[in-house]
């Protein structure tokens, strides 16, 4: 609404241009921070790599077939995106409010959706570097092989899953804003259960029909399973790839629409209750 109003001003950029500029502007601090303080590389790459290696050794301790090693490597790589969505999307508006940025977003002629898109864009650099490190290093260490001809299809599924996942992250960002100090704990509490439900380290079908159905609400579950089926044929699968792709195609607009509605609700309620300027939870 604010963006549309700006058209009335002579020479002002159009709403889509403002949206794009806002998203790029919000992503800039994250890109810039990645270059300015490189200590994140250690944390963002070594930590998930250690976790992935630990799970690989669990399978080795169980004398599991080698195909499960690739299974774990892909799960370890996708953890990066879930962490990013949880911490850099879900809790971000809360942190922004705490630092006093949220009130600036509210009075600026930009939409919250653009701000969240910028966060997602900026966060992708961390997540992608982290995921690539896990895949490359763990695959080399444990001699994991992939079907290279399936890479384009798997990349398509990956992009689809990311779209749905970041839509879900935007939805979480709005919902988390209504929490106080406990938001950090809520996000922390959600981390491991999603590792479990998402089937990051084991085939989702092992969860059974009911839990597997609940897990399928997470875009990362379906995306990960589809990518494994494409890149590591022979590994246990949840449902056929085409059904997983179809479900993701449905999830993308559903999560996007839900996020948009939640953002509008959040904005109105926050204005009414004075939560935009609440500090310290």
């Amino acid at each position: 609404m604010r963006a549309q109003n700006s058209r009335a001003v002579d020479g002002a950029p159009s709403a889509p241009a403002i949206f794009a500029r806002s998203a790029v502007a919000r992503s800039y601090p994250r890109w810039r921070a990645a270059v300015r303080d490189r200590s994140w590389v250690l944390l963002e790459t070594v930590l998930p790599l250690i976790g992935t290696i630990a799970m690989i050794y669990v399978y080795k301790g169980l004398h599991a077939p080698d195909r499960f090693l690739g299974f774990v490597v892909m799960g370890g790589a996708m953890l990066a995106y879930w962490s990013n969505v949880l911490w850099s999307m879900g809790t971000q508006l809360y942190w922004d409010r705490d630092k006093g940025n949220l009130e600036l977003y509210a009075i600026a002629p930009v939409s919250f959706v653009a701000v969240l898109c910028g966060m997602a864009l900026g966060g992708l650099i961390f997540s992608t570097v982290r995921a690539m490190c896990v895949v490359v290093i763990a695959s080399l260490l444990f001699d994991v092989h992939y079907v290279w001809s399936a890479v384009p299809a798997a990349f398509g599924v990956f992009l689809l899953a990311l779209l749905a996942l970041y839509g879900m992250g935007s939805l979480m960002g709005s919902l988390f804003l209504f929490y106080g100090r406990e938001v950090w704990h809520v996000a922390s509490a959600m981390q491991e259960p999603v590792y479990f439900l998402g089937g990051f380290y084991f085939p989702v079908h092992s969860l059974g029909a009911v839990l597997g159905g609940v897990a399928a609400l997470l875009p990362i579950t379906l995306g990960l399973d589809a990518m494994r089926q494409l890149l590591l044929p022979g590994t246990p699968s949840f449902i056929a790839v085409h059904w997983e792709v179809l479900a993701l195609v449905v999830q993308v607009p559903v999560y996007a629409a839900a996020a948009r509605a939640a953002l509008q609700q959040m904005e109105m309620r926050s204005r009414r209750e004075g939560r935009l300027i609440m500090r310290g939870g």
Binding site: L47, E182, A189, F200, F202, P236
Partner: protein, 287 residues
């Protein structure tokens, strides 16, 4: 002289109690006790479930001692996880978010005592989590753990020695982390590194080369070995060092703990001097 010693002891205990209480409040007063309890056990329960499903995928639905190996390891790992990652994050928060670390440092009680008390609160939550996870998993997964046959003295002794180790390592590590601009989450990195070398979720014997050798001498591996021997007496399938007797492993843990505590004491003194000299205690971390 003895009256002065007694007074000092009382003062020490008061300081410890106040620090532990503060730590407990910061950790837990954000929600109701029941929700906090759920929060505390959610992570280790999820980790245990992940391992249980991984085990079932490979070994089938039959419960076996090796599943108990995995679950007991992950349940007791909460000690190290909370002791290192939780405490390092807490110290980082004290400095960066609440901006109170410098005031604690200039208070009459010793800084090390404050850190000790603060970390005891984390370890208390970990002990609670370990008990609940182990109890639930034993019933739900039919683990071969029988409360009547558990060797409680051995379990308590092993955990007490491990507590000294965890405290020694985490106090030094957390203090060293204050040297970084943004130390948050680095505690997790330390805990994860030890995870690999501890035999918590796989026998250290599967680790290759130097890693395997280092893990063999890790006090955490000896501790978890004793925990499993205490929980499941006579189950040889859960042992990482079947050729070594329980007394031998206990002796090893005592020696390893002594080495870690002595080295930790020296390192702590150096790290504290360094932190003070370089102004780390009052650094603006731009939380």
């Amino acid at each position: 002289m003895s009256a002065r010693t007694a007074a000092a002891g009382v003062s020490w205990l008061r300081g410890l109690r106040a620090s532990a209480w503060l730590g407990w409040q910061v950790s837990s007063n954000w929600t109701r006790p029941l929700l906090f309890l759920i929060y505390v056990v959610l992570r280790p329960i999820s980790a245990a479930l992940i391992l249980a499903v991984m085990y079932r995928v490979i070994a089938g639905p039959k419960a076996a001692p090796y599943l108990a190996f995995l679950v007991s390891g992950t349940a007791f790992w909460a000690f190290v996880q909370n002791g290192m990652a939780g405490f390092a994050n807490a110290l980082s928060e004290d400095r960066g978010r609440y901006k109170m670390l410098k005031y604690v440092y200039i208070a009459p009680q010793r800084f090390g005592l404050y850190m000790l008390g603060r970390s005891l609160a984390e370890l208390g939550a970990a002990a609670l989590a370990a008990l609940i996870v182990l109890g639930l998993a034993t019933v739900a997964l039919h683990l071969p753990i029988d409360a009547r046959t558990v060797n409680y003295p051995l379990l308590l002794l092993a955990c007490a020695l491990a507590t000294f180790t965890v405290l020694s390592v985490s106090l030094v590590y957390s203090l060293l982390l204050l040297g970084t601009h943004d130390s948050y989450s680095y505690g997790e990195l330390g805990a994860q590194t030890l995870y690999i070398l501890s035999g918590a979720i796989f026998p250290v014997t599967v680790l290759p080369g130097a890693l395997g050798w280092i893990a063999l001498w890790s006090p955490f591996a000896s501790w978890l070995e004793l925990v499993r021997r205490a929980l499941m007496p006579g189950q040889r399938a859960v042992l990482m060092f079947p050729s070594v007797g329980t007394g031998g492993v206990l002796l090893r843990l005592c020696v390893e703990t002594a080495v870690v505590v002595v080295l930790g004491r020296v390192a702590f003194a150096r790290a504290e001097r360094r932190a003070r000299a370089r102004g780390y205690l009052d650094r603006d971390a731009n939380w």
